[in-house]
């Protein structure tokens, strides 16, 4: 193993840059996508096609005062945005972008990612409660009940993939699917006939876990102002937003590695990090597309979808996969 001091430093800089650029420019993509879908142009003023808009936004947010209203819980109010950001950043340490681009190959990296995701849930809860605002508390309660509900089918679906691969290492799972799209887990019908359904369940859950529309009950503007972020201004708000976008990126990476072959090319041509990036950006575009196409659901329907449809389906899926592995 390379123990040079430069390796961790370079990875740290690289991931910080990747995370920062993604968090900033996914916001731009979102606004452009929203604009185009609604027959508008989106941001156009700052730079060519509004390309410098994220910079302007960042400057504006950072130059504002971090306002702590009276009646909030000071410490938790300040800690929550940081807690929202850190787990998403840390997750990049174990994500394999290509066969040789991975900061650290951890044996249980799948579990590690879910453990980190649960800290982000804590951040929403604490941020909402510390604000001392009824809307924020309602939003936090909704968001947590939603995240807990969708974590179950997500984990059960991940178990099917882990059973097929026999490893919890993201690197192994990706290597297992090399050699063309018919080896990818989403099309691995010879291992379990329900793999496409696994993929759909996992993708829906990953959208719900990142609190994105149509599942964005936590920040339903029309009923809860801005949800748990209502009392946050300046960079506190900025950190929550960046955390949300980074969680989207981590979710897309996870879907790509677990189901879409990681850095593998569909036709066996030039596998490499570019395929990985292409796949995650297609997924991220889909997430944005879904947000601006479907209206928000109700909280009851949302929870019913998870408890009455996704969890039974994922359990049946798990049983069928186990039976397939046992028989064949």
């Amino acid at each position: 193993m390379d123990t040079s001091i430069w390796r961790p430093i370079l990875y740290l800089i690289g991931f910080m840059a990747f995370a920062g650029l993604n968090a900033a420019y996914l916001g731009w993509c979102e606004r452009k996508g929203a604009g185009r879908i609604q027959r508008r142009t989106g941001p156009m003023e700052v730079g060519f096609q509004g390309l410098l808009q994220p910079l302007a936004d960042g400057l504006k947010l950072m130059s504002k005062q971090l306002l702590v209203p009276t009646g909030v819980d000071g410490i938790l109010f300040r800690v929550a945005p940081i807690l929202a950001m850190i787990p998403a950043l840390t997750s990049f340490a174990v994500i394999p972008f290509a066969g040789n681009i991975q900061a650290r190959s951890v044996e249980l990296s799948v579990l590690l990612l879910f453990a980190l995701a649960s800290i982000a849930m804590m951040a929403i809860l604490l941020g909402g409660w510390a604000s001392g605002n009824k809307y924020a508390v309602i939003s936090a309660a909704r968001s947590v009940s939603q995240n807990l509900a969708y974590e179950i089918p997500m984990l059960v679906t991940v178990i099917t993939v882990v059973m097929i691969t026999g490893s919890m290492n993201l690197q192994d799972i990706a290597v297992h699917q090399q050699g063309g799209f018919w080896h990818w887990n989403i099309f691995a019908l010879n291992k379990s006939i329900l793999m496409p359904i696994s993929f759909i369940i996992f993708f829906i859950c990953s959208i719900a876990e990142t609190n994105r529309a149509p599942f964005d009950m936590a920040e339903a503007e029309s009923e809860l102002v801005a949800g748990f972020m209502t009392e946050y201004g300046s960079m506190g708000f900025g950190l929550f937003m960046m955390g949300e976008y980074l969680n989207m990126v981590v979710g897309a990476c996870l879907v790509t590695i677990l189901f879409l072959g990681g850095w593998d090319c569909p036709f066996g041509l030039f596998p490499g990090v570019w395929w990985f990036l292409l796949k995650i950006y297609i997924l991220l575009f889909t997430v944005i597309w879904v947000r601006w196409t479907f209206p928000r659901t109700q909280i009851y329907k949302l929870l019913n979808l998870s408890w009455k449809i996704l969890i039974p389906f994922s359990l049946v899926n798990l049983l069928v996969t186990a039976a397939f592995i046992k028989i064949f």
Partner: protein
């Protein structure tokens, strides 16, 4: 383990790998103590829960130092991600007033008695820790998921069955409680 780490830290320079590991170990211990302190001392219940979560994170760190990363992850996933969040959830929905614990003093002898019991426990544990001739047992098994799964389904299957029974009872109890409120 602590002794070896301290020894290593004393022998090596500050920037060696061993002393770095020692510093991380001290950080996890610090997390446990600080988290427990916050959980006990804090006036607001949600802060107590946050302290509890910090304490659980530190315990996960010690599991990692005991060479069981799987347990460390599960500690994070279950205790930080589910248990403390559910407790916080319950508190948020149940308590009408926050930070109002002034009228809840209890008996006047409760404080000194609690202090005495705590001091006794501390003294006893300290004496045990110092006096006992600690032996380093060889590692049995690799502590990975495969070995753990096999052990749970073969030699320790009774525990597994009992846990599933407890969970079943918990689910039925939750259903009964939830149904009762609807009529």
């Amino acid at each position: 383990m602590q002794a070896t780490i301290c020894q290593a830290a004393a022998n090596q320079s500050l920037f060696s790998a061993e002393s770095f590991v020692g510093i991380i170990f001290l950080i996890t211990v610090g997390l446990i103590i600080a988290g427990a302190w916050i959980a006990v001392v804090s006036r607001r219940l949600v802060r107590c829960i946050s302290g509890l979560a910090v304490c659980f994170t530190g315990v996960a760190g010690t599991y990692y130092f005991l060479l069981s990363p799987f347990l460390a992850m599960m500690q994070m996933l279950i205790y930080v991600g589910a248990v403390s969040i559910l407790i916080a959830f319950g508190i948020m929905l149940a308590t009408p007033e926050e930070g109002d614990t002034a009228g809840n003093k209890g008996s006047p002898i409760a404080g000194p008695l609690g202090f005495a019991v705590g001091a006794l426990m501390f003294a006893a544990l300290s004496v045990l820790g110092v006096k006992t001739d600690w032996q380093v047992f060889p590692r049995t098994g690799t502590g990975d998921m495969e070995a753990m799964g096999k052990a749970l389904l073969t030699s320790h299957s009774m525990v597994f069955e009992l846990i599933s029974l407890v969970l079943l009872i918990a689910i039925i109890g939750a259903l009964v409680l939830a149904r009762r409120g609807r009529n």
